[in-house]
């Protein structure tokens, strides 16, 4: 009896390092099969945006003198410095890389985060990994396979961006440096996501942790770029490193070592954590809950229980965004140059007017896009509940479908208002403290944030309508947000036709405080959002529940 036991345990003890990775190749192929649609969409859309930016900048600013003015204005304008970072030189390539890199590095990071979490923690949560792990698959194989696919996609984006630069007639070295900067961010955030996947038990929380890191490093770079005394902060941020590569300027390839080093360290930490936890569980043991709860008595209470955690996390994040906005806005007040060429370009970013207002408007637009993401993910929580078969038992009680929806809809509607109000409140307070005038400093920030509410509601409403009528295509809401982001960031610069720009709800939002408040578009957007939500409720009432 004892002898048999020893024989059977022996191979487990002598498990080699290689065993840990057994089956990785097969899992990589499986991941590629399952991720082929989202990954092709990510890689191609970033590639196309980069290619079209190179050609548009060449057409818009053919004169080197114009670009010199532009570069100088970027360096002295905190609004630009905060949102996009510095430009490395006056070449067409440098200006293009500056414009694409601002959003592009974060987008590549998001792609890496979503891919890694989907193929690690989300698969673990659903029990798919358990099934795979019972086959001849090493313990580290699922993580390695997920990270490999995310890194491969990041490198593909880097390659495509490089080819776009060379194809547009820019310097090959500069194009390669730009490709390295873009891909490098993907690598680092694949590593960050790998750690987050070990820490959190739910994929939702894991994505939240990784995205918070991404937002945090974006903030560090923004502060470092605006406040020269704190410029060292940019060295703590992958997005900052992307700027330090200085594509089409210094072409400092040595900085890319930071990407590789950070990725290696992150993956090492993730692997170390992986060895110290059980499959399906997180680092920390789950706590016990109450044996009884009389407050959990309605669909609204249930929805609140399911949504409150993410709302709290988002509130903290938006307060931080508000703090950065307020801190950066106050330092920009005395930098107004009055240069007409500068103002023309600024008009393309956020509207004419004082630089502080411009920065507040620009940060408002950014906050609006981010909160649009909250509205969609909150609405699609209903979809998650349905696909997890948790709606059926609730609807089998005396709860009507609209009543079940209403609990979640409260968060879809009130959540964005709260989030933008918190960003405006914190931003306004910090700004007025630094300016020393509560009346003038507060309203601008609050207005810039709150004016975005209707656009975020339209996106949330779209997600609700999709849930009601086309439950299998709810991810279209995310595509809509991505299109709105690209139109908003690049549309005016690329001189896209107005009808195309008008597709984004954000196009119609007045750029308060730079421009005057216009109530008509705000009211119309709110009505559209209300209509979409009503359509969604009507759809869910009449369709089959799966």
């Amino acid at each position: 009896m004892t002898a048999t036991l020893e024989v059977t345990t022996a191979p487990v003890r002598s498990r080699t390092t290689r065993d840990r990775f057994t089956g990785t190749g097969t899992l990589i192929r499986l991941n590629l099969r399952r991720e082929r649609t989202p990954l092709s969409a990510w890689v191609l859309s970033v590639g196309v945006v980069a290619a079209s930016t190179f050609s548009t900048i060449a057409a818009l600013y053919p004169d080197p003198a114009e670009r010199t003015v532009l570069a100088a204005s970027i360096a002295t304008n905190p609004a630009f410095m905060a949102i996009t970072g510095p430009v490395s030189s006056t070449s067409i390539g440098a200006v293009s890389a500056w414009r694409v890199g601002a959003v592009g590095t974060s987008l590549v990071g998001l792609m890496a985060i979503f891919t890694v979490i989907r193929r690690t923690r989300a698969d673990e949560e659903t029990g798919r990994t358990e099934l795979l792990a019972s086959a001849v698959v090493g313990r580290a194989a699922p993580l390695v396979a997920a990270v490999t696919v995310a890194i491969g996609a990041s490198l593909a984006i880097g390659l495509l961006v490089t080819l776009a630069g060379i194809g547009s007639g820019e310097s090959a070295v500069g194009s390669a440096a730009f490709g390295v900067a873009m891909a490098g961010c993907g690598l680092v955030f694949a590593g960050v996501a790998a750690i987050a996947a070990q820490l959190a038990e739910s994929s939702r929380t894991a994505v939240g942790i990784a995205c918070a890191v991404l937002a945090g490093t974006y903030g560090l770079r923004a502060i470092g770029d605006v406040k020269p005394a704190l410029s060292w902060l940019t060295w703590l941020s992958p997005q900052g490193w992307a700027n330090h590569v200085g594509s089409f300027g210094d072409n400092n390839f040595a900085v890319s070592a930071l990407f590789v080093l950070a990725t290696a360290v992150a993956l090492g930490v993730a692997a170390w954590l992986l060895d110290r936890r059980d499959l399906g569980l997180a680092m920390f043991p789950a706590r016990l809950g109450p044996a009884s709860n009389s407050r959990l008595h309605s669909p609204a209470a249930l929805a609140a229980r399911l949504q409150r955690g993410s709302l709290i996390g988002w509130l903290v994040g938006m307060a931080a965004l508000g703090a950065v906005t307020g801190g950066v806005a106050s330092t920009s007040s005395d930098l107004l140059t009055g240069n007409p060429q500068l103002e023309e370009l600024m008009a393309k970013i956020g509207g004419a007017g004082a630089i502080t207002d411009m920065l507040l408007s620009a940060m408002g637009v950014l906050a609006g896009l981010i909160v649009g993401g909250y509205a969609i993910s909150t609405a699609l929580r209903m979809s998650t509940e349905e696909t997890a078969d948790r709606v059926g038992p609730v609807l089998a009680t005396a709860v009507s479908r609209p009543r079940w929806m209403s609990g979640h809809l409260v968060f879809v509607i009130v959540g964005p208002v709260l989030l933008l109000a918190v960003a405006g409140l914190v931003g306004g307070l910090i700004n007025s403290l630094q300016v020393g005038d509560l009346s003038s400093g507060f309203g601008g920030a609050m207005g810039a944030m709150l004016v975005q509410v209707p656009a975020t509601l339209v996106l949330g409403g779209l997600a609700v309508a999709l849930f009601g009528w086309l439950p299998r295509f709810t991810s279209v809401a995310w595509v809509a947000l991505l299109i709105a982001l690209l139109l908003g960031q690049l549309g005016q610069l690329l001189q896209l036709p107005p009808w195309l720009m008008d597709l984004s709800p954000y196009t119609h939002i007045p750029t308060v405080p730079t421009a005057d408040m216009r109530w008509t578009p705000v009211i119309v957007l709110t009505l559209i959002a209300a209509g979409l939500i009503a359509v969604g409720i009507a759809g869910f009432r009449r369709r089959d529940v799966s």
């Binding site: 959990l296 008595h297 309605s298 249930l302 059926g392 009449r542």
Partner: protein, 318 residues
């Protein structure tokens, strides 16, 4: 006797697939009604139509006197449901889920809940993701049984329960029956159906093919007879309703159609009976007879190689 569930001519299609094809189902008030059928035969689809979660393409589904789709919310105050696959919210404890579902239904009998929790030996403080399959099932069963309702709709409720808990479940259902509640029990476990159900409906390929009390259903099948006789009556070979006759010396074995039992016995008695065993058909045989027919139908439709496999299955069935 009034009916609690009345389904007539219900059709449900999912794209090209017809899940329910003219399904009729009738459940009397106060009875425990067994709902039997192989995987994918449409049991859960029927139940979800009864719960107003799916909209029937044709036909009517009446529950407790109301329309299953239109009056869903009002009806759900008077019924409780246990799904076959219980998925709990990962961050809610079992106790919270029981309270929530019962309160959403309109109220909870806390004394009864506590009693059930004790009987099912359930740890209430664990969070959803920490429960095993059987324990998740127990959470849903307790939530349903603790509600003061007229109708219980149970979709394979005991899958994942250990034999001890299965016994507790059967006691509870019998108690519900004594209290006058109506139960629709979809199940694979035939001994459970045999122990609990007054009437049974067998569903196959989206239609109910057999319905009635167990006695009535048994009447449709054959009784197995084994007898020791002085002389084997020659008439036995030609007697109507006698099948698969085997004679081994003075020992005879045969199956006889229930309708012809009396006549066959008279023939047998003529030979001088010294010993006799009669085995009534089990529910399993009833079920397998219908299942076997489907296998046979598939075999005629398909090519020769699979035919061999199916015959093998049929042999195993008998």
């Amino acid at each position: 006797m009034s009916t609690t569930i009345e389904v007539t001519g219900v059709v449900k299609k999912f794209g090209p697939v017809t899940a329910l094809n003219n399904l009729d189902l009738s459940v009397q008030t106060g009875e425990v009604h067994g709902f039997l059928g192989p995987n994918g035969s449409g049991k859960s689809t029927t139940i979800r139509i009864l719960l107003g979660q799916l909209h029937a393409d044709a036909g009517t589904a009446t529950v407790l006197g109301g329309d299953a789709w239109r009056d869903a919310v009002q009806l759900h105050r008077r019924l409780a449901y246990v799904p076959g696959e219980v998925n709990l919210w990962p961050n809610l404890s079992g106790g919270e889920v029981i309270d929530l579902l019962a309160r959403l239904r309109g109220g909870i009998d806390t004394r009864r809940r506590d009693e059930l929790i004790e009987r099912f030996d359930l740890d209430l403080r664990k969070k959803g993701r920490a429960y095993s399959k059987g324990n998740r099932q127990k959470v849903a069963i307790v939530a349903a049984l603790a509600s003061d309702v007229e109708l219980l709709i149970l979709d394979e409720p005991t899958i994942g329960l250990d034999p001890l808990m299965e016994a507790v479940f059967q006691e509870c259902i019998n108690a519900e029956k004594d209290r006058g509640r109506t139960v629709l029990l979809s199940s694979h476990i035939l001994s459970e159906v045999e122990a609990l159900c007054d009437r049974v409906s067998i569903i196959r390929s989206g239609a109910v093919v057999e319905t009635g009390t167990l006695t009535e259903l048994r009447h449709l099948t054959r009784t197995a007879i084994t007898a020791e006789v002085e002389t084997v009556p020659a008439d036995l070979h030609t007697a109507t309703g006698v099948h698969d006759l085997v004679v081994e010396g003075s020992r005879v074995r045969f199956d006889v159609d229930s309708a012809d039992l009396d006549r066959a016995m008279r023939v047998l008695v003529a030979g001088g009976v010294r010993g006799l065993t009669a085995t009534p058909p089990t529910l399993e045989e009833l079920f397998l007879r219908h299942y076997g027919e489907r296998v046979g139908a598939d075999a005629t439709a398909s090519a020769a190689p699979t035919d061999g496999v199916n015959r093998h299955q049929q042999a195993a069935v008998r």
